[in-house]
């Protein structure tokens, strides 16, 4: 993790603090105030803010433009990039565009299949995959070169992240896959939403057994449940999600008007439990279309105030 970046996220992590990140989904329109408003709700409680890249393949304002907006506000954006919609020319070009605004974090993803979104009849690109995107950004940064071999003037200084899903199948390659992302050059991980803490802790132990936690910062992904209905939906309908029956039951047993409050309480309890797990470097709090709850979660989980970083 040698490169010198202006990433606040990297500075917080390398100073040994538990980092807090969150995410904002860009609007389905061109109103810049939407993203500014969401960012203002969370800016004092997080170190960096991910901007999603046409998540679930629904067309939205581009991640790069929304990241620039956050950068102008003085925040530290994490540019999410999926390999679904752009080939290697466009990906390199957007990395340089981001770097020209000193956007210093990138999260490399493959992206949901376009069949989930509003352009199901569209072509997908997948010129490179998420693992190769990690390699590409590291190559541009560390070697200062384009994929084609030419020198980059003022190479990008990106802190390079990747996603990990400790719950996806097949489980036996979950740790080899993490090792592979580290080998590709990933420096931080933001995990899939964690609800099955026992399974996540088992995954973390396997990561520690291979010493992977010392080679990469792992941020645990936390998404509060708004209702028992959401828990059921996440359990049954969202690919790669592991929601234990006990959690669904706890929410179902709570009166409807108190379920949101209970969901926040569970999220805070989970963070407090995971804070004690060796190898966890922070939390990625994804309160989906519920950004206003992030400050309360962060405060009550004992992660506030955020550290001062020079």
């Amino acid at each position: 993790m040698k490169a010198n970046t202006s990433s606040r996220l990297k500075k917080v992590l390398s100073a040994g603090h538990l980092a807090v990140t969150s995410e904002c989904g860009p609007p389905r329109g061109s109103d810049p105030e939407v993203i500014v408003k969401k960012a203002n709700l969370i800016k004092d409680h997080v170190d960096a803010v991910n901007i999603t890249d046409n998540q679930t393949s629904v067309t939205r304002m581009c991640s790069l433009a929304a990241c620039i907006r956050l950068k102008i506000m003085g925040l530290d954006p994490v540019l999410q990039m999926v390999t679904r919609d752009r080939n290697r020319i466009a990906l390199q070009s957007d990395i340089l565009g981001a770097a020209s605004f000193d956007i210093s974090n990138v999260l490399c993803l493959s992206g949901d299949h376009q069949s989930f979104g509003d352009c199901a009849q569209g072509q997908n690109v997948h010129d490179i995959d998420s693992m190769q995107l990690i390699q590409m950004v590291r190559h541009m940064r560390d070697d200062g070169k384009f994929l084609g071999g030419d020198d980059i003037k003022r190479p990008p200084q990106m802190f390079v992240g990747a996603a990990a899903n400790p719950f996806a199948d097949p489980f036996e390659i979950r740790i080899p896959r993490l090792a592979k992302k580290i080998k590709a050059g990933a420096e931080f991980i933001q995990t899939q939403c964690i609800y099955n803490l026992d399974k996540f802790e088992a995954w973390m132990k396997l990561a520690r057994d291979r010493g992977l936690h010392e080679q990469i910062y792992i941020l645990a992904g936390m998404t509060p449940m708004k209702s028992a209905g959401m828990a059921k939906y996440m359990k049954n309908r969202v690919p790669g999600m592991d929601v234990p029956d006990a959690l669904v039951k706890r929410l179902s047993d709570t009166p409807k008007e108190k379920q949101a409050e209970e969901g926040i309480k569970i999220c805070i309890e989970d963070i407090q439990r995971l804070k004690e797990v060796d190898g966890i470097s922070g939390f990625h709090v994804m309160a989906i279309e519920w950004e206003e709850m992030v400050p309360e979660i962060v405060e009550k989980a004992g992660l506030y105030p955020r550290p001062e970083i020079k």
């Binding site: 390999t83 290697r88 949901d112 995959d129 998420s130 090792a179 592979k180 790669g240």
Partner: protein, 222 residues
């Protein structure tokens, strides 16, 4: 083989417009095996069209013919002496055959009678599945003999993606995750350690991306 599927007859009728002398031209190769464009399907389509035109009280002549192949000059030449009798050909060959026929009989309209789908295998009668996209640079040696280019919806070379659940693809529970298969196969070959080797960026210039392709073999040229 090349797998094709039948076109809806309404679409073929629409294509044929006002033509009155039509040759339905089948192919004895792949489209016969996948039961979309062989002699049998030529007969079925010809009968259906005759019935349709009869009902329409239109006098349309429909002839049938099935060639050994439509992707070879030699076999396509067999109809040269009678092509002039027709004002349209409906080729039930794959897209290759349709085009080759159109190139050869330049002043005769040639319409496609099937939708050409992919290169695949017969899993069982009535079920064909894709196996190859002809990317021009085979990587099967590295992936346990299972192709992520043709069998993964995102053609990820370092999979599986986060959407793999219970061994199935995120886009459809009927589709097996190619990377699940690759991992199982690497395990069976006692080569699971290979999984951690990073697959490099693929050179797509030998794929469709590089433009129309050709294979030149001087050693076998006359």
């Amino acid at each position: 083989m090349i797998v094709a599927d039948k076109k809806p007859i309404e679409e073929i009728i629409e294509e044929l417009g006002t033509h009155e002398k039509i040759l339905i031209l089948g192919c004895n190769e792949c489209v016969t095996v996948c039961e979309a464009g062989g002699k049998k399907e030529v007969g079925i389509l010809a009968s259906a069209l005759r019935m349709y035109f009869l009902n329409q009280k239109r006098d349309v002549k429909i002839d049938e013919e099935t060639l050994q192949r439509q992707c070879d000059h030699e076999y396509l030449e067999e109809i040269r002496d009678r092509v002039d009798r027709y004002d349209a050909i409906v080729s039930l060959a794959c897209g290759v055959g349709v085009q080759f026929a159109a190139e050869k009989y330049f002043s005769t309209p040639v319409y496609p009678g099937v939708n050409t789908c992919f290169m695949g295998a017969t899993e069982e009668r009535g079920l064909w599945t894709e196996r190859c996209q002809g990317c021009g640079q085979c990587i099967l040696a590295r992936t346990g003999g299972i192709c992520p280019v043709s069998r993964c919806a995102k053609r990820v070379l370092n999979g599986p993606c986060g959407g793999s659940t219970d061994g199935k693809c995120e886009i459809n529970k009927e589709i097996i995750c190619a990377w699940q298969l690759i991992i199982e196969r690497l395990k069976a070959l006692d080569r699971l350690d290979d999984y951690e080797a990073l697959s490099p960026l693929k050179d797509w210039s030998t794929d469709r991306a590089g433009g129309p392709r050709k294979v030149v073999r001087e050693d076998v040229q006359p």
